[in-house]
């Protein structure tokens, strides 16, 4: 069991981690602040004040542990929301460019990246399926962290690749359009020549 001072240091470290994550997530997603995380940090303050008012050493420690657990939940919630943002961005990319033959050409290891996205999505879903686990999610506060870095890189690659794929698709469509126009012109020329030939034969027969 950590000493009293250690608990406060742990709390401070986690609190600073949570605050940075909340700010980062807000900037990255542009979807505004995440209320559940802010609420968890509010509960931290409540438990710390209770620990300051208590004379009972056991109660002081219990309140500090409760405060630590709330910060860990704040971290889990913010990581989860950021992962969801990355996954949703990846869904948008896949829905838009999945059928383009250029996607696998432009995005290296595209299937592996999709597999990683599935893994991260399942990780979130599994924890939420078990109500007890989700309520006590402080024990998993580090679980989503490894996915964040990987998914942020994948989404960054998707964002960079999207205009390249779109350009290649546009080039292909333009070439197809040129070919279609060429074919149409050839057909029109053939029909005109045939008509002239037929008219020539009719005139010659008269």
């Amino acid at each position: 069991m950590p000493a009293k001072g250690d608990e406060l240091q742990i709390l401070l470290d986690l609190f600073e981690q949570a605050e940075t994550k909340i700010k980062n997530a807000e900037l990255i997603t542009s979807e505004g602040v995440l209320i559940p995380s802010i609420n968890e940090l509010r509960y931290v303050g409540h438990h710390i004040v209770r620990s300051l008012l208590s004379d009972d050493a056991k109660e002081i420690q219990a309140e500090r542990v409760r405060a630590i657990n709330h910060v860990k939940r704040a971290i889990y919630d913010i990581d989860e929301s950021l992962l969801i943002y990355y996954i949703e961005s990846a869904v948008n990319f896949k829905e838009k460019y999945n059928d383009s033959g250029f996607t696998t050409e432009v995005v290296t290891d595209y299937p592996e990246k999709l597999a990683m996205l599935d893994e991260a999505n399942k990780s979130i879903q599994q924890l939420r399926e078990d109500n007890n686990n989700y309520r006590d999610r402080e024990q998993f506060y580090q679980k989503l962290n490894p996915y964040l870095d990987k998914l942020s890189k994948i989404v960054a690659i998707f964002e960079q690749s999207a205009p390249l794929i779109a350009n290649k698709q546009q080039d292909k469509d333009n070439k197809q359009q040129d070919k279609d126009n060429q074919d149409r012109k050839s057909k029109r020329r053939f029909i005109i020549m045939a008509l002239i030939g037929i008219i020539g034969i009719i005139v010659a027969l008269k």
Partner: protein, 55 residues
């Protein structure tokens, strides 16, 4: 101590001042609730990234 003194940026102080007077409401999209996140998770529940991609 005024609540606005807790905020450093001018824009933050302005927002808090407005909110504390009740003169504006937070607009949709400026914050995310637990329910917003739950709905997003539900929407992604059956999404399969591995399902069919052009090879």
């Amino acid at each position: 101590m005024k609540i606005t003194s807790l905020f450093n940026k001018k824009s933050e102080r302005k927002l808090v001042a407005k909110l504390s007077k009740g003169s504006i409401n937070l607009q949709r999209g400026r914050y995310q609730t637990a329910q917003d996140i739950t709905e997003k998770v539900k929407r992604l529940k059956h999404y399969n990234f591995g399902k069919k991609y052009a090879g």
